[in-house]
Symmetry: C2
Subunit: 205 residues, 2 copies
């Protein structure tokens, strides 16, 4: 039933996915869905807890608890874990844009309440510590780095129609340029170069 | 009337903003709205053409028609024009996320049809030319750079509630860290450093 819900949430949005539709899509009765989930709120909770949260937590679980020597490596590793999990979850980027990022998204509060905030705070503090050592560009906002990663990774995957349109000039085959490896190289280059302190680059000129 | 529509689109979404609601919000009759816009489709066209498109075109109009010597400067200037126009248009980032980026967004096709694609193609070609000269990191996808800028800039502005939550660890006052200047420094550092070819940075080590 959660598989059916996931498919409907991705294709129609959460608001339009009634229990009756989910039941029909799963090939069960509405009564069966009610038996398992009681109501719509509990179905949404179960969807977040079983389909979305385990992946989010796995992305964050390996962030070191103490500031690591290599903060840029820590950031790239987080982006890599995110990108590595998305090919098996093609429904996640559009769902994330529509239901979690967009104002009024039905899953936003549920997700915000479950974010691993202490781990995210350690991540930001590790970036700030690296800035204090001169290892990360001082102009970066440590707390914004997570959103920057999400923006760089999720946006192209959430809007393939837009990507096809804007990539057309350089990519002859629609969508061809957006294989996972190309996106990973692109995001790595921006993050790795962008996080570096300016002194390293400047002294080379 | 378009002011009223803009406010409702941003706060309730386009789908929920009926002509009756827009008329009530503007303090006119539904008949008046119909008199000016005939129907909902023409109202949405007018909204895009008068409120969104002029800004989008102004951001793109200054992209040089021939590949410039300084491609990184061209990218930063585009990001700057975008960021400079958003404080007067606080409704645009959430609207962009929900109605243009998200699947099923009611303004997506209207906007895609009006994108200045030739200018966007020149922009991507200029980045590719700079890569060929060794002035821009070879791992970047030229066609993805626009989406990267949008992701870096629009996402934090579209989801202030999320930003407050993830910035909390480093920013004592909610929202305090996301003034326009801080976001600009953050985006500049990521783009300027991220676009640089690796040889410049490496030779400094």
């Amino acid at each position: 039933m959660l598989d059916a819900a996931t498919e409907l949430f991705a294709s129609r949005g959460v608001a339009a996915s009634t229990i009756a539709l989910i039941a029909a899509h799963a090939g069960v009765t509405g009564a069966m869905v009610h038996y398992y989930f009681k109501n719509r709120d509990q179905l949404l909770d179960a969807f977040i807890d079983e389909r979305v949260l385990p992946f989010v937590l796995s992305v964050w679980a390996e962030v070191p608890l103490a500031p690591p020597a290599d903060a840029i490596g820590m950031v790239l590793a987080l982006a890599d874990r995110l990108m590595a999990g998305l090919p098996q979850r093609p429904w996640l980027p559009p769902l994330w844009i529509r239901e979690i990022t967009a104002a009024g998204g039905e899953l936003r509060d549920r997700m915000l309440q479950r974010l691993p905030l202490p781990r995210m705070a350690v991540f930001a503090a590790s970036i700030a510590a690296a800035q204090a050592r001169g290892d990360v560009h001082p102009d970066l906002q440590p707390g914004l780095v997570v959103l920057s990663i999400l923006g760089l990774v999720m946006l192209p995957l959430a809007a393939p129609a837009v990507v096809d349109k804007v990539l057309q000039p350089t990519a002859p085959k629609p969508g061809a340029a957006l294989d996972a490896a190309a996106l990973r190289r692109h995001v790595h280059a921006l993050l790795a170069g962008g996080l570096k302190p300016p002194s390293l680059a400047r002294s080379a000129l």
